[in-house]
Structures are given as structure tokens and as C-alpha cells.
């Protein structure tokens, strides 16, 4: 589903590469934790899957397609098949829960009838039923992240990328968020989650890819966060 073939990324005006000779293959339906300290290249990895950054060397394949050969005007179509969740939720403060989720479908031109049907379904799925009409600032951090997940998942993407989704949330609530991500993974969606959270990685026993200074230093199925931490 995602294939990094010897990918190196050097940002302009920086000597140290953000990723170096990275080879990672993620199969359809997998759940992968991307771990490593800050600045190890986790976010760069995720941004490359979205073609927000292009590799300095090597190739990135998503769903069998070489992103280097994807024309600019086709990038939005790639992004429609990938959902994104961030540490800072990125909800629109002037829209309520249902409107925030619906926004993702409105802007890709889905018909109103379709939106009215799927938005409540996905709000149920993330466990926010009954809170459709709340505004983001009336929700807890965990609930806001659920809204963000609902928005990322509402178009049924084949891949869900999560960049430290539990970074702003207390451990107890994080478990709930992880359960939602796990539920989404069980529908067949590939999930790649960058995280610092050792407890969560250890508890879930999924595949772990560890980055350090832009290199893959460990790739372990059913792994833990690591002894050093």
C-alpha cells in the first residue's frame, strides 16, 4: 500500500537529511507505529505519503503508483484516498461537529444527500453520537480528536495517517482514541501512526518502525516502543 524505495530527503538549506536511504513497505490493512525522537523524520515520512514533500532521492509508491510521476492536478485525488489526523486536531472553530465532518465531503463536491447519510454514521463510529451539534470548544480534547478522526475517515480512505494523535491527550483518553483507530483499521484501512507514546505502543503490540536521524533502525512486527525509553 505504501512503499518507500531508498528514499532520502534533504530540506533546502539544511545539511542533515531528514530521511536517509529509507526502505519501508506497508501492506494493505496493516497498522504501523512510526516511532523515534523528535526530528527523526516521522513527520517527513507522513508528508511524503501525501506528496506534500517530494523525495530528494528514491521513490515513494502509494497504492502501486509512483508519486514522482503523479501530475500536480492529480494530487488532490491521491489525498482523497488518504485520511489525516494531527496532534492539534485542526477543526474549524466556527462549525459544529457534524459541519466539521461534512466539510471534508463538501469541498470534494459530494452531493448533499450522500453527506447527510454518511456523516451521522461516522460520528457514531467514533463514539460521538448525540454530540453532532456541539461546537469544538464545547468538547474535551479527546472528543475533538474523535471529530478529527471522523473527518479523516468519512470519505472511507484506504490509508489513515496519524501524526501524534494522542500528543495532546491524557493517557486514559488516549486509549479511547486508539480504540477508534483500531476499529478503523479493522474495516480494512491501512493506518500509519507516528507517536512518542511508549505506553500505547507497548499496549497495542503492532508493527513498529523506528526512525533515528532519518534512518530506519528497527522494523519489528508486534514490537514495543524500545528499551531505551
Amino acid at each position: 500500500m505504501i512503499n518507500f524505495d531508498n528514499v532520502t530527503k534533504v530540506y533546502p538549506n539544511q545539511n542533515r537529511p531528514a530521511l536517509q536511504h529509507c526502505n519501508v513497505a506497508v501492506e494493505k490493512g496493516e497498522f504501523v507505529f512510526l516511532v523515534g525522537p523528535s526530528g527523526s523524520g516521522k513527520s517527513t515520512f507522513l508528508r511524503m505519503v501525501l506528496k506534500e514533500e517530494r523525495p530528494s532521492q528514491g521513490r515513494v509508491y502509494v497504492a502501486g503508483k509512483d508519486l514522482g510521476k503523479l501530475t500536480n492536478w492529480k494530487v488532490p485525488h491521491l489525498r482523497r484516498r488518504i485520511g489525516c489526523v494531527f496532534q492539534d486536531f485542526r477543526l474549524l472553530p466556527n462549525k459544529n461537529v457534524a459541519e466539521n465532518v461534512a466539510f471534508a465531503l463538501e469541498v470534494i463536491g459530494k452531493p448533499r444527500r450522500f453527506i447527510n447519510k454518511v456523516v451521522p454514521e461516522v460520528i457514531d463510529l467514533v463514539g460521538l453520537d448525540g454530540k453532532q451539534h456541539r461546537m469544538p470548544d464545547e468538547l474535551s480534547g479527546g472528543e475533538q480528536q474523535r471529530v478529527a478522526i471522523a473527518r479523516a475517515f468519512v470519505n472511507r480512505p484506504m490509508i489513515l495517517l496519524a501524526d501524534e494523535p494522542t500528543g495532546n491527550i491524557d493517557p486514559a483518553t488516549s486509549i479511547g482514541i486508539m480504540k477508534v483507530l483500531d476499529r478503523i483499521n479493522r474495516t480494512g484501512t491501512t493506518v500509519v501512526m507516528a507517536t512518542h507514546d511508549a505506553a500505547i505502543v507497548d499496549a497495542f503490540r503492532k508493527r513498529v518502525v523506528e526512525l533515528e536521524d532519518g534512518r530506519v533502525v528497527r522494523d519489528q512486527s508486534r514490537g514495543v516502543y524500545g528499551q531505551a525509553y
Binding site: R79, L92, V107
Partner: protein, 301 residues
């Protein structure tokens, strides 16, 4: 494409930057009104030019007792002098016709011409305008030989080439028209910069939305269209105001000029409508184009 959504976004954008939008609309309105006025004046001047240049005469005023010209010596031109001059002029190949206009006829014509301004008529009495020969030319631009033939001829007081008078007038009108176009150009420049600023503000205040749109895979057109239409709508509003100003300038400026200057040809409302449509289209395209160019800098796709 969900139109309702797009228009909602535009409305939010325009309202958020209300002061910017108002200044943009005003700038565009003034720019387009000046631009249109310039074009109307040009149309008017061009059509009057062709009309008048075909009809201009060279007038040769004959000596009268009142003339100040030394050569006349306070004496009226004799009949012989006059007839000699007419004969010479008629022999010239450039001359189509020579008319002799007496003091009485001249005064009658003057009264007719200034029928609307009784003050002028009261100030002039019969005899103030001397006898004259009105020479119509085959080609109005070929007047040099007539002037050289009649110059320094006994009995001739003054030679007035009407074309020179008209040229002076048209030069003033032409200057007016260029001034209008020049100021319009400066205004257009200001409008383009304002569009740029408005779009930049708008892109900044909506960066959350556009970021999410980008992430969920909205097409570039979907992301950019509200901004471009925002500019275009401001341009259209400016154009509508400019249209009203142009109708005003036709009624108040050009029609008045026409009354006092005897333009002879009248600018039709069809011509005015053409100018209005043209300047509105320019306004809308200008604003939409400027938004599009600014977006390329401030909106990452």
C-alpha cells in the same frame, strides 16, 4: 461542484474583509468610470472631427472701416478688389466654391448660431462682422495655396482658417481624453494592488479552511474559485457603479459639451452601452486575474 457552498464561502470572505472590499469596489468604480469617460470622449471627438473637417472653410474677411489692420487703412474693400480676389481664388484647383457673405448675412448667421445666448446677440450689432469670402476646399487639408493667394492682397483684412481653430479645440478635447485615460491607468494600478492585498488578507483569514481543503483532497479549482470570484464580484460591483457614473457623465458632461460646442454628431446610447459593457468586462477580468496571480503566491496547493 456545489454552487451553494462556493457562494457561501465568497460571502463569508467578502464580509470578513468588508473595509478592504469597499475600498476595492470604489477604486475599481473610479478607474472604470474614468476609463469609460475617456473612451466616450474619444468616440465623440473622432466622430465630430470627421463631421467638421469635411465642412470647414477658409474665411477671408475683407477690409472694413473698423478693421485694425494697417493694410486696410480704415477703408472698406472696394468692389473691384473683391471681384479680383474671387476670380483669383476660383482659378485655384484646390478651391471648390467661393461664397460672398455680406455683413447682413453674417449677422443673420451669427444670430442663428447664438439663438440660445441672447447676451451674445445683444453685444454684437450689424456691421461688426465684416464682409467675407467663404472658401470651401476640395480637400480641407489643402489650404496653404488659398492662404498664400489671398495674403497681402489689397482689401483683405484677415484670413481665418477654421481648421486651425477646430484643431485647437480638438487638441484640448484630446488632452482631456488622455488625462482621463492616464488617471484611469493609475487607478487600475491601484486596483490591482488592492485586489492583491484583499486576496492576501482573505487567504490568511481562511488559512485553516484552505489547509483542510488541501488535506482532504479538494481540487485546486475548488480551493481557488471562492477567492477569484471574490475578486470578480468586487470588480463587478465596481463596474456597476462605474456604469452609473458613465451614464451620469454622458448626461452631464458629454451632452452639455455637445450643447455648448455644437458637436453636430450625437453620441448614441448604443455607443454608451458598448463602452459600459467593455469597461465592466475589463473591471471583472482585471480583478479576477489579479486575484489569480496573487493566489499563486499566497495559497500553497
Amino acid at each position: 461542484m456545489r454552487l451553494y457552498f462556493v457562494f457561501q464561502e465568497i460571502w463569508i470572505g467578502l464580509r470578513r474583509n468588508l473595509t478592504m472590499t469597499i475600498s476595492l469596489v470604489i477604486t475599481v468604480a473610479i478607474a472604470m468610470a474614468l476609463f469609460g469617460t475617456g473612451m466616450l470622449l474619444k468616440k465623440q471627438v473622432d466622430s465630430s472631427k470627421t463631421y467638421w473637417y469635411d465642412r470647414v472653410n477658409v474665411s477671408i474677411y475683407l477690409c472694413a472701416k473698423t478693421s485694425s489692420n494697417q493694410a486696410c487703412g480704415k477703408k472698406e474693400a472696394t468692389q473691384k478688389q473683391r471681384e479680383d480676389l474671387i476670380a483669383t481664388l476660383k482659378e485655384l484647383p484646390e478651391v471648390a466654391e467661393v461664397d460672398y457673405e455680406t455683413k447682413g448675412e453674417a449677422f443673420e448667421r451669427f444670430k442663428e448660431l447664438f439663438a440660445n445666448t441672447p447676451g451674445m446677440i445683444a453685444a454684437v450689432k450689424e456691421g461688426d462682422i465684416p464682409d467675407s469670402l467663404r472658401v470651401r476646399l476640395v480637400d480641407p487639408s489643402n489650404y496653404a495655396s488659398v492662404i498664400s493667394a489671398s495674403k497681402n492682397t489689397p482689401g483683405v483684412d484677415q484670413i481665418v482658417n477654421e481648421r486651425e481653430l477646430l484643431e485647437k479645440l480638438f487638441r484640448i478635447l484630446g488632452g482631456l481624453q488622455w488625462a482621463a485615460l492616464f488617471i484611469a491607468l493609475i487607478q487600475v494600478f491601484a486596483a490591482v494592488l488592492l485586489v492583491g492585498n484583499t486576496v492576501r488578507l482573505s487567504a490568511f483569514s481562511r488559512r485553516r479552511e484552505t489547509n483542510i481543503m488541501r488535506l482532504v483532497g479538494a481540487s485546486n479549482m475548488y480551493i481557488q474559485l471562492p477567492f477569484i470570484l471574490e475578486g470578480a464580484i468586487a470588480g463587478l460591483l465596481g463596474g456597476v457603479i462605474a456604469a452609473l457614473l458613465l451614464v451620469g457623465s454622458k448626461l452631464l458632461l458629454i451632452d452639455r459639451l455637445q450643447e455648448s460646442l455644437q458637436f453636430a454628431t450625437q453620441l448614441t446610447w448604443t455607443q454608451v452601452a458598448g463602452v459600459i459593457i467593455f469597461s465592466m468586462a475589463v473591471g471583472v477580468l482585471l480583478c479576477a486575474g489579479a486575484s489569480f496571480l496573487t493566489l499563486r503566491r499566497y495559497l500553497k496547493i
